[in-house]
């Protein structure tokens, strides 16, 4: 009887996690295999021509000849740094400030900062497209009080496009990260601060030597999520810079890796090459997460 119970209990976790694996087998394997296999073919998206097996040619083409792949990867990394990783630079101090004793109405601030998370990309692009408009935009209107210079062409200059994209990402996700860091802050034992206070450390010193190291584990997770999301960013630049007709606006400033892979598959109709870019992107994401892990480990030591 006891044995049976134990066996049953041994099976329990597998039963509990089985939905994921069943769903993965039914809905995941076929699409994933499809994109792996197509990446080794010259596979036209449309039409009746038979796909031709070409081995690693798609990968070789992307890595050696393609004029946009590395440009797109570069843009994506820039956006990752200024759009996604920057969030953490703002979110940590913000969380510390909100968590501090001097601030009241914490709920109000938390709610306000978190609110952008619920917006859809389409709404966000419509809203910010207007706020950053050259002639009618609020941003240029505000700037006009401080500067007599010509209005900034946010949507037409390469750096402007990237700045707006980075701003949108920060706006949308800082609150999310801030709330995550608040969780980390609240789990730091107060004895650590008391010890630092006895040593006569300044507030800044205290946060650098106590708060930050305590936040490293949570930082690793939050940054890992940012990397996974940030490297796959597609809709924001796609809608903001005019979709498939433009390859990311002025000097391809808004062309991200995912944007380019969608263009390759759905506008250049080269499904095979698009799949190859997708898998290269997957490897880059794994690599970056490895670096993230190493960096945090280094810091923790």
């Amino acid at each position: 009887m006891d044995k049976l119970n134990a066996r049953r209990r041994n099976l329990t976790p597998y039963i509990l996690i089985s939905p994921f694996f069943i769903l993965f087998c039914v809905f995941g394997i076929y699409p994933i295999s499809y994109s792996i296999i197509t990446s080794f073919f010259n596979w036209p998206l449309l039409g009746n021509a038979a796909p031709k097996f070409i081995g690693f040619d798609n990968y070789a083409n992307v890595l050696t000849r393609d004029p946009y792949f590395f440009k797109a990867l570069y843009n994506t990394v820039i956006l990752l740094v200024f759009g996604s990783l920057m969030q953490h630079v703002v979110a940590v101090p913000l969380a510390i400030l909100i968590n501090s004793k001097i601030i009241r109405s914490k709920e109000f601030f938390k709610t306000t900062f978190f609110l952008p998370y619920i917006t859809s990309t389409v709404s966000v692009v419509i809203i910010f497209g207007l706020l950053f408009d050259t002639n009618y935009g609020l941003v240029n209107w505000v700037i006009s009080f401080f500067s007599e210079q010509q209005k900034i062409r946010w949507m037409f200059e390469p750096w402007g496009i990237q700045a707006v994209l980075a701003f949108i990402l920060n706006w949308k996700f800082i609150g999310w990260n801030m709330v995550i860091y608040l969780a980390g802050l609240q789990s730091i034992p107060s004895e650590l601060y008391e010890a630092a206070e006895i040593d006569g450390a300044s507030t800044l010193r205290k946060h650098l030597s106590v708060t930050l190291p305590q936040l490293y584990p949570i930082m690793f997770l939050a940054i890992a999520l940012s990397i996974i999301g940030g490297m796959q960013i597609f809709e924001e630049p796609f809608i903001l810079t005019g979709g498939y007709d433009n390859l990311g606006g002025a000097q391809n400033a808004g062309l991200t890796s995912a944007y380019y892979l969608m263009f390759t598959a759905f506008k250049a109709y080269r499904l095979g090459k698009g799949s190859a870019i997708a898998w290269l992107l997957f490897l880059v994401i794994l690599l970056l997460n490895g670096i993230n892990r190493l960096a945090i480990k280094r810091l923790q030591r």
Partner: protein
């Protein structure tokens, strides 16, 4: 001492106030623009206050799309997928957080790694499957495949690891509660904050999904709000006012839900839903 603190406090509030303004203004802007007639939406200096075109925009919006039905579809799909995600992800998260079993680390790593696969090109084979299943023009493809998503499992695993003491589970077992009894009677009630977070993430994702319903719910009265609203964006009779109102109307339900649950959601996140 008290005097010393003041400037610091003032500065802090100023900074937070400015940030809050930057974060909140775009929302206010959406609602302001929704009340101006199409020909007056844009102006310089920009619109700061409400206009008189709300009724006009409202009528045009309702004349163009069956917005009531679209709203019903959006809500139904979002609620059903949120409910099922909460259920299945908590199950899996409970297993990963509170059980020891063979290949646990590998299986968990596999779940996490699926998050990094760029799924953009899956739409073609996925659509083929949905046709084979005869699921096109039903809610199922937008609910079933994501019912036990990797992100939800990750979130619930992290949350349950920290929030449910092992002793409590052991005590329940001694009392003769079966594993599924524990799941229903103890794990779910204790994971409310975690569920609130996963709930809003899933609900938002489902509500804002565009490509899925565009391709899988092809008819205007069976599709969701964002897809139906995109019809207003047609070039030849572009109606900025109705578009802005539509935009506001897609945002509003989410805002209300969020403001209503914000305490749970935020306390859920801060209670360690995503803790290291």
């Amino acid at each position: 001492m008290a005097i010393k603190i003041k400037p610091q406090k003032v500065l802090s509030y100023l900074f937070l106030g400015l940030m809050a303004f930057i974060f909140a203004y775009p929302f206010y802007n959406v609602f302001v623009l929704a009340t101006w007639p199409s020909s007056q939406v844009l102006s310089f200096p920009p619109r700061f206050f409400f206009g008189a075109g709300l009724m006009e925009n409202w009528q045009q919006l309702f004349a163009r799309i069956p917005i009531g039905k679209n709203f019903y579809n959006s809500l139904g799909i979002a609620l059903l997928s949120t409910g099922s995600v909460l259920f299945f992800c908590t199950m899996a998260g409970y297993a990963f957080a509170k059980f020891e079993f063979r290949f646990k680390a590998q299986l968990y790593a596999f779940v996490i790694a699926t998050m990094a696969i760029p799924g953009f090109l899956n739409i073609i084979p996925f659509y083929k499957m949905m046709v084979a299943f005869k699921w096109v023009n039903t809610w199922l493809p937008l609910i079933v495949p994501g019912m036990a998503g990797a992100f939800g499992i990750f979130l619930m695993t992290q949350f349950l690891e920290n929030s449910i003491p092992a002793e409590l589970l052991d005590a329940a077992r001694i009392d003769g509660l079966g594993e599924f009894g524990i799941l229903i009677r103890i794990v779910f009630p204790l994971s409310k904050p975690g569920l609130a977070v996963l709930g809003i993430v899933t609900f938002v994702g489902s509500w804002n999904n565009f490509t899925g319903p565009l391709i899988l719910l092809p008819r205007i009265d069976s599709t969701t709000l964002p897809v139906a609203l995109s019809v207003l964006n047609s070039r030849v009779d572009n109606n900025l006012g109705a578009l802005m109102l539509g935009n506001a109307l897609t945002l509003l339900p989410l805002m209300l839900i969020f403001l209503f649950f914000s305490k749970q959601i935020i306390s859920g996140l801060t209670a360690g839903a995503v803790k290291g």
